[in-house]
Symmetry: C2
Subunit: 194 residues, 2 copies
């Protein structure tokens, strides 16, 4: 067996597609990247990309090493009662990141976004398109400050996570999930469904 | 003139003290570092440290390349009317970071805290001791969740800054200072003086 031998079959194709996606997202950003362009770069049929990945946001979640496709969780949050959307977002967010592996992934995302403009751009476009743009459309009453409110809600989640996973501020790092939902939930609700 | 020649006098002593402070803060964290230990490491009389720097938080602000000693700004915020403390904090924060140089410094602080445990520890101890610990003591009614509320207020500021300076989320990045004060001020107020 050659030490540089490629594994046959699906594993290999999947990895090739992921590499191509990583390069396309980095070069083009989230919005301008298409599954077709990823297939072209990976030299595979576009149908194979769809075979292995549930669409662009799922592929992005894997490239970013996120534990789950966040846009699926947004579907779930938006399907629930509107008056619980703040609490549901905080719960969902903590479910994703509240583990030793999640914490490390969060640190990696922050490190990368604060080190490379391209990484910051990917994150911005993904958050806007798949997360907070969708939430704003679904919930925030139309008006001048709808996008601002969505962005500040995103900022509140990001900041809570910075204190819990990066800065390791004792009271926030050791707070129980329910306490955070109780205190931060209404703030998110206030931004999104005032 | 030797290319490695030291400049004579104050500039040189000041730089030596700053180097020693950087090393002490990194090794000991913020809390355990004393001006005496910094003087010892710099091989200067402790009185010289006091001559060049207005105390530990001022020295820390220089080591972190902060545009101003944040604990001075907290003095100013706490001197104002209690019911405007949320708005005053947001204003003060934006005054410090809302410039091209401030933005870069903020990115550097985030990068460093998400890359090195020691940097995260320094930041945590500084925020706790000089900023949010003081605010919590002055404002938050005693109770189980006073520290949690202070930490979440810090998180909201940090998160707003992440969206504005790092992620570059359009609505937050381009918002006028007054808009941010208007929307985020009451949230901070709600955390700190509910």
């Amino acid at each position: 067996m050659s030490p540089r031998g490629r594994r046959p079959g699906g594993e290999d194709t999947r990895a090739t597609i992921l590499d191509a996606a990583r390069a396309e997202f980095a070069e083009q950003g989230y919005d301008a990247t298409s599954l077709r362009a990823i297939a072209r770069r990976a030299c595979v049929d576009p149908a194979l990309v769809h075979h292995y990945f549930d669409g662009k946001s799922a592929l992005f979640a894997e490239v970013m090493d996120l534990p789950i496709d966040p846009s699926l969780m947004i579907d779930r949050v938006l399907a629930g009662p509107r008056e619980h959307v703040g609490a549901a977002l905080v719960e969902t967010f903590l479910d994703v990141w509240d583990s030793p592996a999640g914490r490390q992934r969060f640190q990696a995302v922050v490190r990368s976004a604060s080190s490379h403009d391209e990484a910051a751009r990917m994150l911005r476009e993904f958050l806007t398109r798949e997360i907070f743009g969708r939430i704003a459309h679904a919930l925030v009453p139309d008006g001048d400050d709808a996008d601002l409110r969505a962005g500040l809600a995103a900022g509140q989640m990001l900041g809570m996570a910075m204190m819990r996973y990066v800065v390791d501020f004792p009271a926030v790092a050791t707070a129980r999930r329910e306490e955070l939902v109780e205190v931060v939930g209404p703030v998110i609700q206030g931004y999104l469904a005032p």
